[in-house]
């Protein structure tokens, strides 16, 4: 999942002919002041931290300026600060516009219909979760032939638009739908979409590009995202790795088994927080890499829960034993293994030879890990 910052999202909006306020992304207070002084950003303007988390307005990450000096000061205050764990590296400076109304609009995926869905609401500028269902118009869109006129008209009606604004919305929807489709987006969200005179301006831009479509979009490969440094390394090595609160590491294969393992550990009072999904890998090298990545996250204990279907238990065991050898004694942690399925016996034998015991029962092994993480036996 590649989340784009507002600034990158608005670049895409422009590419697809969607109107946004005049603005410039700046990486330093000097650049910010210059953008305003040069007239590239008309005054008064708004200065927004380019972070991925929401709630910037309440969090002080959005400020206003009427002079270049104020713009510089605002940018300086925001840049380098931390917002919900993210360091602000860039700000977006934009002209302040006279908003007549704030609307909501998004394209996303409707999994049940297996179709893109267009959602519109006249109640924009607030969290869409807080808007009542009856005030949101939902329309699934058939990719063939794409968004058609009556769907655009229905959207216009739901937004209460009339006159020239209907034509504005037509162009905007056509552009955003093309963006959603051509750029392999999971989400294209504009909130608020502002009525400014007889124009529609996208005041915010939330664009998420689908990871699986990365091969078609090398241009997004370098996009900064809200991953931890270890997650970033994992991503480069193509290992599914997620860090959350908690001190128990889980190495499993398959998302379902990983989640089930998490459920069981929590049931017995554990705090799993580091998740590593080996997927269908059969490659001992990959297992070694994954295990060393896990070690870097400094877990209190690790639970290896593998059901060997496609994966062979002996191969996983071999990779694990190799990895164990490269972890410094000071950085070792208790390891509980449960490996079942394909070549189970060989795998267990390999682990046993390296001093790791495999407990076949999920309940018992989970209890053992939780105890180990507490410093127990």
């Amino acid at each position: 999942m590649v989340k784009l910052t507002e600034g990158r999202g608005k670049e895409l909006f422009r590419k697809y002919g969607v109107a946004v306020p005049k603005g410039v992304v700046a990486g330093s207070a000097d650049d910010a002041a210059r953008a305003v002084a040069s007239g590239a950003v008309p005054l008064p303007c708004v200065i927004k931290a380019q972070v991925l988390a929401g709630g910037r307005g309440k969090g002080g990450a959005v400020r206003f300026a009427s002079t270049p000096e104020e713009a510089r000061a605002a940018a300086a205050a925001i840049l380098g600060s931390s917002f919900q764990g993210e360091t602000v590296r860039e700000v977006l400076l934009e002209e302040k516009v006279a908003i007549a109304r704030e609307l909501y609009l998004s394209f996303a995926l409707d999994r049940t219909a297996r179709l893109p869905i267009l959602m519109t609401s006249a109640r924009g500028g607030v969290e869409i979760e807080s808007v009542d269902d009856s005030e949101i118009e939902r329309q699934t869109i058939d990719p063939f032939p794409g968004l058609v006129a009556y769907e655009r008209r229905r959207a216009a009606r739901s937004l209460g638009l009339t006159g020239p604004l209907v034509g504005e919305l037509d162009r905007l929807l056509t552009g955003l739908y093309r963006l959603f489709d051509d750029e392999d987006a999971e989400l294209v969200e504009v909130n608020p979409l502002a009525v400014v005179g007889d124009r529609l301006l996208a005041l915010d831009a939330k664009v998420i590009i689908e990871d699986d479509a990365a091969f078609r979009h090398p241009e997004f490969a370098a996009v900064h995202d809200d991953r931890t440094p270890l997650e970033e390394i994992a991503r480069e090595k193509e290992i599914a790795f997620v860090q959350l609160e908690g001190n128990i590491g889980v190495i499993a294969n398959g998302a379902g088994l990983t989640m089930a393992t998490l459920d069981v550990l929590k049931e017995f009072g554990g705090a799993p927080g580091i998740f590593l999904d080996l997927g269908g890998t059969d490659d001992p090298k990959k297992v070694t890499e994954a295990f060393l990545l896990m070690a870097q996250a400094k877990p209190k204990a690790v639970f290896l829960n593998i059901f060997g279907g496609v994966t062979r238990c002996d191969t996983v065991a071999r990779g694990l034993v190799t990895a164990l050898g490269s972890v410094a004694p000071s950085e070792r942690f208790p390891l509980v293994a449960r490996i079942r399925g394909n070549n189970e016996a060989e795998g267990i034998a390999i682990l046993r030879a390296a001093g790791v015991t495999s407990v076949p029962d999920l309940k018992a092994s989970a209890q053992a890990v939780v105890a180990a993480a507490r410093g127990g036996p």
Binding site: R114, G256, D263, T311, R340, N342
Partner: protein
């Protein structure tokens, strides 16, 4: 045919000459599947595990009567490979391939549906009917012929549970791993009616996950039009709220999509919902005993 595959199923493996294609061709044959052809463009005339390789699915169908396909084609080429299968008249296509962009799957799903081809997957382990046929990669060892139907969005977790059913002395009629991607060719609500009609299935196991509303939709169908006992498990009950899809995702599902809502919906529909995977075979065995007594 009972549920989608049987002894008449004749499989062409698309991408047979790759590592996965070769390994699973062997495993499918060992299971008893009629793997009649493979397709890898440019490799026509060769053979893999004794299975003849063709350049196109059309030729494979013409020469071998293949009626199902199993796709191991890399994600960037999967869409075109599936369309090739549909155009060649394949009726069932199992997409093992993972990481297919969902925008491609939207195209594939509607293209196949309009032409009467059923897709299972993508990113799925496929379908298996013990003693009959298997199309996909579910390990042979977990199965035993029986009367429990299994449908699951998960991979290895399915193997666990299916294996558990075997270890409790029971067996499976048909098991379908639907895949956990946002867009799947066959969902719970698509699969359940097949089992409802299947005389070989007495009891259903449904393995779901958090995210999406496929389980809630399934619950609604179970409540209104599924007559066999259902044992369900939802993985991810204690997972932190996902950030995926952000706000728009949240309003699509509107409070559905959580483990709590899925469990509640299934229980309202009369399903027995296990709290942990190891409980599933236990409940299945208990229900099977009750059924046997009747």
């Amino acid at each position: 045919m009972t549920v989608l595959v049987d002894g008449e199923t004749r499989v062409v493996v698309q991408g047979i000459t790759g590592h996965q294609g070769t390994v699973h061709t062997r495993a499918m044959r060992e299971f008893g599947t009629q793997v009649v052809a493979g397709v890898t463009p440019g490799k026509a005339g060769s053979a893999v595990e004794g299975v003849p390789v063709f350049d196109t699915v059309r030729e494979a169908v013409a020469k071998t009567g293949a009626n199902a396909s199993c796709l191991f084609v890399p994600a960037p080429f999967a869409k075109d490979a599936l369309i090739e299968a549909v155009d060649a008249g394949i009726r069932l296509s199992v997409l093992v391939t993972e990481h297919i962009p969902f925008h491609d799957m939207l195209v594939m799903y509607h293209y196949a549906r309009a032409r009467g081809t059923r897709i299972i997957g993508p990113n799925c382990p496929g379908i298996a009917a013990p003693g009959r046929s298997k199309v996909g990669i579910i390990p042979n060892v977990v199965f035993r012929p029986g009367r429990v139907g299994v449908i699951s969005r998960s991979g290895t977790l399915t193997y666990e549970i299916v294996n558990g059913i075997k270890e409790h002395g029971l067996g499976q009629s048909t098991c379908i791993g639907l895949g956990g991607d946002p867009v799947v060719g066959t969902s719970f609500v698509d699969a359940l009616p097949l089992f409802e009609r299947d005389p070989e299935t007495d009891l259903m196991v449904l393995v779901g996950e958090i995210g999406g509303t496929a389980e809630e939709d399934a619950a609604e169908l179970i409540r209104t039009s599924f007559s066999k006992p259902v044992v369900a498990y939802i993985a991810g009950r204690s997972a932190p709220p996902g950030k995926r899809m952000g706000h728009a995702g949240a309003i699509i599902s509107r409070g559905r999509g959580t483990a709590a809502s899925k469990v509640a919906a299934l229980e309202r529909a009369g399903a027995r919902v296990a709290r942990f995977p190891y409980e599933v075979p236990e409940i299945v065995a208990e229900l099977a005993r009750t059924q046997a007594r009747r």
